[in-house]
């Protein structure tokens, strides 16, 4: 049941954002894309203030204000400089990305151990199920919000806003500045979006630089669903429709997950759904003819039928939910349920997963025979991590296995009384999982480790002594990257003869230019810290490396075959193997509280002789002797992974 109540809660919190879109899109016919940025801004401001010790309720009006300031800028450049609304929104949204990074100082702020509205609610809980208690409270809040918003839209100011969207020439003739009214409305809408961001950040326990992506489509979907199910002129009904639309949309996400759909397809389906509804409802212009007109007529005359089908679907779902415990009891028996949560599809994550699965098999776990192994991938979408956990809660998973930082953060926040075994997290302490490998929350353990950048530098020094210049590229939007960069700078403090040239990027498209810029700065090598964005376009760096004969040193073992000269890094496959052993120990009765966090146990030290030949670099014999992996004539050789025995 937690999955569905959790979805309702998310829907309520996202409803504030949907109301913002309702104002811009329905009242002003101007789908304001600024909100993709404003949502994060609200979350960023709230988190930074909460970490600073502010009252979590007091930060909400601040988030509203800051959000409305962003909206003000969009409205201002749209009206004052006559820049098309969509473009004005895109401009401000793009700029907000940098502003948000500056507000947060890093790309992710955990609120796990901070005082949030959720922790306040938990303190007041009279003993109900946590999600249910949140839901009851949030329903009351949204009820109040519904009344106030609807009433506001009926006031003289609210009416003037609606009239401004409906017929600007008319309100202008009645002495109202259309520009001022537009700016006011867009500001207010973005205020609500900022508020929504602040609430979501507190609810999910962190703010993240990427959390706003796609907001406009999701809130458009909510508005459109609301319009389809409730059609009435009354503002009360309209606003209620938007709130319900938001809840239904989140339920749909949960349902998609429940029935095993890839959550990443949800974006495509949502976009498609929004488009079809727009066409069907004739928003895209009235001059349609032929079949299009037929579809539009069908839609407008059969809205009731649509509603009935929708209700039936809901009934079916409710029926299924009621029967489900009976169905589930049949097959799942007493087998341990292990739920893997993956944040994305990167090498690092999939390697870890493969490691876990292969080692679990070796330890005698067979999926479906003596255990149930569930796998879900959030495909890079942060809120989806949350929904996956809700889904697992519903499936009564026994051991939660989040892979990578984002998933672990979500699990930490929601799972308090079941064991969590995380894998491949650079720095678990940064996201609030305790203060040391032994001092951690009682239900959590896992495998972690910062990349061995110091060791990589030592190898680099063997080849390039004296006064040298090195270059690195990174995307400051990833918390792991920022922590890796800090480690690199720390290692460089002991070696004043190395000058570090750094170039920041915001996406894979920037990597080529960044590498080019570095090659022009007379660096002797690329020393790359672990960064998903750089790894995703590693080819770009390799091309520059070959053209300008500058070698690549990397902390990621996987990059050896891709064209790095030297790698010195952990094997994430091994991280997975280690995690599998921890899962096994917990399943056999050990308490995670007694298991210290483990560091990665196997390092790969590799040399790519093909690259050395191509770049005209000779590898010192000492390195040749020490390295345990190599690429020669296109062939990768690596020692097999054998975990050292416990305690050794």
């Amino acid at each position: 049941m937690d999955l569905w109540i959790g979805a309702v809660n998310l829907g309520i919190l996202y409803a504030f954002m949907a109301i913002g879109t309702f104002i811009t899109y329905k009242l002003y016919s101007f789908p304001d894309i600024t909100i993709d940025g404003t949502f994060t801004t609200g979350a960023a401001v709230a988190s930074i203030l909460i970490v600073d010790g502010w009252n979590p309720i007091l930060v909400l009006p601040v988030a509203f204000l800051v959000g409305s300031m962003a909206g003000f800028i969009t409205g201002f450049i749209h009206t004052r400089f006559k820049i098309e609304g969509l473009l004005a929104g895109i401009l401000v949204m793009t700029g907000l990305y940098s502003v948000n990074l500056h507000i947060m100082g890093k790309s992710n702020i955990p609120l796990l151990n901070s005082h949030t509205f959720v922790s306040i609610l938990t303190e007041m809980n009279p003993g109900l199920n946590a999600e249910l208690w949140h839901c009851i409270f949030l329903c009351l809040v949204v009820l109040l919000f519904w009344m106030l918003t609807s009433l506001f839209l009926k006031t003289d100011v609210g009416l003037t806003m609606r009239a401004t969207g409906n017929n600007p020439a008319m309100v202008s003739a009645q002495g109202v500045s259309v520009n001022r009214m537009k700016i006011f409305g867009i500001s207010m809408a973005n205020g609500f979006v900022g508020l929504s961001g602040a609430l979501i950040a507190q609810y999910q326990g962190f703010a993240d630089i990427g959390m706003g992506i796609g907001s406009i489509i999701f809130s458009l979907a909510a508005v459109i669903i609301g319009e389809a199910i409730l059609r009435h002129r009354s503002m009360f009904v309209k606003v209620l429709g938007v709130i319900l639309g938001s809840i239904i949309f989140r339920l749909a996400v949960a349902m998609a997950l429940h029935f095993g759909m890839n959550p990443n397809d949800l974006k495509l389906i949502t976009a498609f759904f929004v488009l079809v509804t727009l066409i069907a409802s004739g928003v895209l212009g009235s001059g349609s003819t032929g079949w299009l007109k037929y579809v539009q007529n069908q839609y407008s005359s059969n809205r009731k039928a649509f509603l009935i089908v929708f209700m039936l679907a809901l009934l079916l779902m409710a029926g299924y939910l009621m029967l489900k415990p009976v169905i589930l009891k049949k097959d799942s028996g007493k087998m341990v349920k292990i739920g893997l949560i993956m944040a994305n599809n990167s090498d690092i994550v999939t390697q870890t997963r493969d490691g876990i699965l292969s080692e679990l098999t070796k330890l005698g776990y067979v999926n479906g025979k003596n255990c149930v192994i569930l796998e879900k991938n959030a495909e890079g979408d942060i809120p989806t991590n949350h929904t996956i956990i809700g889904y697992y809660l519903n499936k009564q998973v026994d051991i939660y296995v989040p892979i990578s930082t984002a998933s672990t953060q979500a699990a930490l926040n929601k799972i308090k009384d079941k064991p969590i075994v995380f894998a491949t997290v650079a720095n678990p302490f940064m996201i609030g999982a305790g203060t040391s490998p032994v001092n951690h929350p009682p239900n959590i353990t896992g495998v972690y480790g910062p990349s061995p950048i110091g060791d990589l530098l030592a190898v680099f020094r063997q080849m390039y002594p004296g006064k040298v210049r090195i270059g690195t590229i990174y995307n400051p939007a990833y918390p792991n990257t920022v922590s890796n960069l800090r480690d690199l700078k720390k290692a460089l403090e002991n070696d004043k003869e190395i000058t570090l040239e750094e170039v920041t990027i915001s996406g894979t498209n920037d990597v080529y230019h960044a590498a080019l810029a570095l090659s022009n700065k007379k660096i002797c090598a690329f020393v790359l810290i672990n960064d998903l964005t750089v790894f995703n376009s590693f080819e770009s760096v390799v091309r520059i490396s070959k053209n300008s004969k500058i070698p690549i040193f990397s902390c990621d073992a996987e990059r050896l075959k891709d064209g790095a000269l030297i790698v010195y890094g952990f094997e994430y496959f091994v991280s997975g193997m280690q995690a599998a052993h921890l899962i096994d120990r917990i399943n056999k009765g050990e308490s995670p509280a007694q298991i210290p966090f483990e560091k990665y146990k196997i390092v790969t030290y590799g040399v790519n002789y093909d690259v050395a030949r191509e770049l005209g670099i000779s590898i010192p014999l000492s390195i040749q002797a020490a390295a345990d992996a190599s690429v020669k004539n296109g062939k990768l050789t690596k020692p097999p992974f054998i975990l050292p025995k416990e305690g050794s």
Partner: protein
């Protein structure tokens, strides 16, 4: 009431399509005067009205309304003094809102709006009574959407909205041109009624020679951006359709209009 000095407006200045719409317009319109403006297409009559309303910024000259220089004020700032009815019956009202809500917009013309709900009992009752004065059975449709009304009905409501708060100046921009003759006559009757009842200072642009003769106290005839005739009340009383057409004939002589153009002009004003 309205004082216009040396008003000058050129469209597309400096380009091949350069068009001088207003040339040295000097005119005074007194309180309670009802002026009709007639003229050929492109004579500048609509431009003059838009300049008074503030939709068009002149490059030279000044406009004063009851002693205040409003030349640099935008249209919504002038709405405190001026109310308007447009040629297009759909311009003056918001179709997605109810009749009552539209009337409320006009109720607050030129005034500050606060987040309070004014549209309730007593005000609705007042709106209902005023709608009854239109004689269009709209008083029971206060909660209907504006978009469900016919063009004529919408124009009548627009007219009511324009006088809901008595304006210093009422501007009518060919406000019956898009209506069928029967509805047009009805709207003209209402116009007469409201203007007389409130003693409004009115400027009406019209294409109908008959309306110009029947309504108002003064006629301005425009051509090529200038006011070429200013017919005051005493002269207007004895004016006939024939006289007006002769005046157009005079323009023809001065401007050397082709007979075809003259013919189309006559047709237009028949």
């Amino acid at each position: 009431m309205i004082r216009i000095r040396n008003l000058h407006k050129t469209f597309n200045a400096g380009s091949l399509d350069q068009l001088t719409a207003l040339k040295e317009i000097n005119v005074d319109i007194g309180e309670h005067e009802f002026v009709t403006i007639i003229g050929t297409n492109g004579s500048g009559k609509s431009t003059l009205l838009n300049a008074i309303a503030g939709n068009i910024r002149p490059e030279k000259g000044t406009i004063e309304i009851s002693g205040r220089d409003v030349t640099s004020k935008q249209d919504f700032q002038r709405a405190k003094y001026i109310s308007r009815v447009f040629q297009n019956p759909y311009t003056g009202t918001a179709p997605g809102m109810t009749i009552a809500e539209n009337l409320l917009m006009a109720w607050f013309r030129g005034r500050r709006r606060y987040p309070v709900i004014s549209l309730k009992g007593s005000l609705k009752h007042q709106f209902k009574q005023q709608l009854a004065s239109l004689d269009m059975q709209l008083e029971e449709r206060l909660e209907n959407l504006m978009g469900t009304l016919s063009g004529g009905q919408r124009q009548a409501v627009t007219l009511l909205m324009a006088v809901l708060q008595t304006p210093k100046v009422l501007l009518l921009d060919e406000h019956t041109a898009a209506l069928d003759p029967k509805t047009a006559a009805q709207v003209i009757r209402l116009t007469q009624k409201f203007v007389t009842a409130n003693k409004l200072t009115t400027v009406m642009v019209t294409h109908s020679m008959q309306h110009a003769l029947e309504l108002g106290t003064r006629i301005l005839m425009m051509h090529n951006g200038r006011i070429i005739e200013d017919i005051q009340e005493n002269e207007k009383q004895n004016l006939t359709m024939e006289d007006l057409l002769n005046k157009f004939e005079d323009i023809r002589k001065i401007e050397k209009l082709t007979p075809e153009l003259m013919e189309s002009l006559k047709n237009q004003y028949r």
